[in-house]
Point group: C2
Chain length 332, copies 2
């Protein structure tokens, strides 16, 4: 597989983040659940934006953040996602391409505005997300190039996009292309609402052997398995997918593959600023390790290093060169 053109091709929401500071009182007044993600329509996006404080705009999107992390780690990555033909779309395209990521999904007219995620960061560094999906949820199977998937070592799928119908069809097409080309398929559950709405569907996918690597955080792992504790949850997941990776925030992460179990503590940090992107960057580090064939423990450590970088500043994409931060791990 070393001669494939890309290490990872990801399919995800093409989103611009709109990030503002907010107090707990603002979240309460808006009836928001701190730390959560909720989908909102355009009218609510407009209303909430008007109520928010001054913001900065940065490209985001869960899987797109992951490919940004992969690029920073020196991996070759491609991205598939749907934009509208507007200025926010132009910002997203510029940012991802300027990282050296291949991104060629044509923006489309008449399918709604480019997606945006209104992110409120509270003084405790937690982020509360309000996502207007707009054009992003109109990603259809025609956007998936089977040849691109076949030229990638790993296909990475963002669970958020399993919820709307068109992108789910696009991801099913991509999975089929991956299976016939010997491309490994990685999937992140993204959020427990995705699990709650698609549990049977997702389990069928796992049982069909369609997913090689599954990423979940602790909440999602419990939601998926119905287990009451972490160890039971990871055991249940590991029985269903060849490689299971579960992140546990300050408690580090665990991976299980073919009876092998590895775990890492969270990487020490100087100052927690904004947890946005922690899971996305953890996936970037882990996938970089997988693409290099480094083994579970080294891959987990790369994940922890990448996640630690992104939570020490505002925004969901790395600001430092992760390849330098990873140091000896990537010279192996």
């Amino acid at each position: 597989m070393t001669d494939r053109r890309f290490d990872v091709t990801a399919i995800g929401n093409a989103i611009v983040d709109v990030i503002a500071d907010a107090g707990d009182d603002f979240l309460d007044a808006q009836g928001m659940h701190k730390g959560g993600m909720r989908l909102i329509d355009e009218a609510e996006a407009t209303r909430l934006y008007a109520a928010m404080g001054p913001a900065r705009e940065e490209s985001g999107g869960s899987a797109a953040n992951t490919v940004a992390g992969l690029a920073s780690l020196g991996q070759r990555a491609a991205f598939i996602g749907q934009l509208g033909t507007d200025q926010l779309g132009a910002i997203f395209s510029h940012d991802i391409r300027s990282l050296g990521v291949a991104f060629d999904t044509p923006a489309k007219d008449g399918i709604g505005a480019t997606a945006r995620c209104l992110i409120l960061v509270t003084p405790d560094a937690q982020r509360t997300m309000n996502t207007f999906l707009g054009a992003a949820q109109m990603l259809g199977p025609e956007a998936v190039d089977a040849a691109l998937i076949a030229e990638s070592k790993i296909l990475y799928l963002e669970g958020y996009l399993w919820d709307p119908e068109a992108p789910r069809l696009a991801m099913r097409k991509a999975i089929a292309a991956a299976r016939s080309a010997g491309t490994r398929v990685a999937f992140t559950l993204s959020d427990s609402f995705v699990v709650d709405r698609h549990r049977d569907d997702l389990n069928a996918l796992f049982d069909a052997g369609s997913i090689d690597i599954l990423f979940a955080n602790e909440d999602e792992a419990l939601a998926l398995t119905g287990a009451s504790d972490f160890d039971s949850a990871i055991t249940a997941i590991a029985a269903r997918v060849p490689t299971a990776v579960v992140t546990r925030s300050v408690n580090g992460a665990v991976a299980v593959r073919s009876g092998e179990r590895a775990s890492v503590p969270a990487e020490p940090i100087e100052r927690l600023v904004d947890t946005t992107g922690a899971g996305d960057l953890f996936a970037a580090g882990f996938l970089a390790g997988e693409a290099r064939g480094l083994g579970l423990e080294a891959s987990l450590r790369l994940g922890a290093i990448a996640a630690a970088e992104v939570i020490q500043h505002y925004g969901a994409r790395p600001e430092s060169n992760l390849r330098v931060l990873a140091g000896a791990l990537l010279e192996a």
Copy 2:
């Protein structure tokens, strides 16, 4: 004057900043003069943007940053500036209004895209600016509401806008409105290119008694007066305008009024990150002091405090509450 509705009404470029890190080699390859500002057309803006790394977008504009600083200091401010009818324009409007600044200039169709400033931040924290003015330079006299000026203690004019013709006419109209309403007029030279292109014009403005407070940095002061040293320059400026304020970067700032001369050192900082907005925020602090009638030295200190805050993080608008940082100075 204490019953006026606004402390400061500012006229300036309505710009969104597009901020990216860059190495010195990138600046060299692009033939840019580090630390400078140059005007570029839309084609060059598109070309340069494609060559730049990933960016974050934040509302900017020199005088707009100043009113953001005034709002953070608890002053009542209004802004006049021209936007296009696009997403960047919506971002600018949202950000300035969410600070409590009155901003009612209608966005216009068919006059070009909303202005943007492509800012490259080098590792030494210097910012090199490439400005596409677009809609901003189409600000015309019809946008100036004489009643708004009459309800303001101070009218603040951004020198950058003295260069294009329509905004210069708008500013002349605003000056006339200010003079007849007893509103004080403050002007910032903005850049030595403005001085070089409009020296006679500006001197005529000063000699006509149209400007009460003039802001300049050291380069601009030397360019305006043709003096070879700082002391001669400030003496020459002080002979032409009632209040002269000259900033000197790490060497603090000096103000002269009616024979009184005051100076302050630069405020100590922990870490220099990005000098973007330093002059804009200095003006905010000084104008807040003037609006409160605090006197030269206290006004200079407020300027130094506001400038010190903004250079310790990326971006040109305050992230901390300047009113809190100013503390006892504002309780006087």
